[in-house]
Symmetry: C2
Subunit: 276 residues, 2 copies
Amino acid sequence: VKTAVVPELFTIGEFSTATHLSVKALRHYHDVGLLEPVAVDPATGYRSYAVAQIPAAQIIKRLRDLEMPLDQIGAVLDAAARGDTEERDRVILVHLQQMEERLEQTQASVASLRGLLEGRPTELVVEHRRLPATDVLAVRAVVAWDDAEPWLADSFARVHAALAAVGVAPAGPDGALYPSEFFEAHAGELVAFVPTAGVVDAELVDAADGLVAVTLPAVDVAVAVHEGTFDEIDRTYAALGAHVASRAIGIRGAVREHYLDESHSEVAWPISAGVG
Amino acid sequence: VKTAVVPELFTIGEFSTATHLSVKALRHYHDVGLLEPVAVDPATGYRSYAVAQIPAAQIIKRLRDLEMPLDQIGAVLDAAARGDTEERDRVILVHLQQMEERLEQTQASVASLRGLLEGRPTELVVEHRRLPATDVLAVRAVVAWDDAEPWLADSFARVHAALAAVGVAPAGPDGALYPSEFFEAHAGELVAFVPTAGVVDAELVDAADGLVAVTLPAVDVAVAVHEGTFDEIDRTYAALGAHVASRAIGIRGAVREHYLDESHSEVAWPISAGVG
DNA sequence: TTGCTCCTCACGTCACGTGAGGTGGC
DNA sequence: TTGCTCCTCACGTCACGTGAGGTGGC
């Protein structure tokens, strides 16, 4: 007696038509364990999909349209399978927020591009200055390029909280050290600091983990003030770099930024001592 | 006499800091010819960049932030170098329009995802019907998945124009044939058609290139009407696929869609003759 | 029996990132 | 002289797409 094919199953081609996922994509999702066919013929390797797998396939398609990585989609499906709706929605929301941020970044890039194409001259006053040795309370960590902004915000909040706790007032604007490695590899050890009048007692800040009280060495720099949003600060770097390169006064060393206020940042590029 | 290093040149590391492009990216842009250093030391392979290359680097950075492919960025820079501002802006605008469309698509996906997660039931009436043989004027072409919508719009416009030119009225709603290959490989030969009462005289349409007058064969189908935007039509496919799979009545053959009005499309999935 | 559907490698794509291993200049 | 910067392979990443070459079921 020949057994009839179980009727509620799809071949991969039918499942592709029903879900609008390509056959290649379905095979890939099988390979990585994201969407496994309910049966695989041991002799032929033919995959069989069930009607009950359609909702998962539809969610995968939607999330891929939103450019969610496959492993995160896996987390969404796992949470849904567990009935953990909160976790499912959390993973999705995090991703949507990232997309939102990228959209804002995109709009900023468009505006900035317009400025560049119009050839709006970057009128920038570059001055040479000697930054004196500075006592600071700081956070130091290896940070990836894209994580820099949130890491900075978090770090400054922690430093200010620690200073408030020990009753020490900041002696200057927040600042950060960017080693050349950070620009060259788009990752590196950053230092977020807040100046203090004198070195903060190590024992006082010891409790707040990760904070260090150090003295930044004195350094000669070419300085320019960047006005505007963070995402265009590379224009100030370009102007400073051109200034320094055309005079051949650049030296190796971390660039320092000082955050004067919401829309003004000082960029300090190290140069040889004693130059004009 | 030792020749001094030409002062207005950057090392790759300095250029990276000045432009905020990673060293790896700069080397890659050199490899592909997008941004070639002004000099490469023949002995050491060291790259040298000029101050004058900063604007190009900034444009590359902005366009990459907008996810423009490197070859298109090359076209932008070439046009700019030629002084062809119109061409430069055209390439950029085309890309921005594509981003705009993707954004709309993203927003639609988010809304659709919400619907899927809420488990809003897809109440769909599926009926079985025999589509009679149909004379049509059609356009046939191999089309990629993402090009389908604009290709359809263009094709219908051309067919209608041709019909108007020869004084033939449409005998039914616009429609299209989607072979299974199109869903499985996300590319395939589509047919966009407009029904006519009788076969249109071949000589009359001969002038309008690409148009063919053919008769679509009769076929038994399971039909459901999709209501709403195009990007959710896979939900109707899923319901039809489940209906057909659970009854094991599916047969191979192209799916037909009939575009009844702005927000209603009929999806017709081929089934065995004489069912239900 | 002939296509058709399906299968598994193996490799390509895109824009870099990640090391490994090595050299030149201050 | 020691690090530091830079170099070139070679390979990895991510989510598939593109063939090549081959088999089973109607």
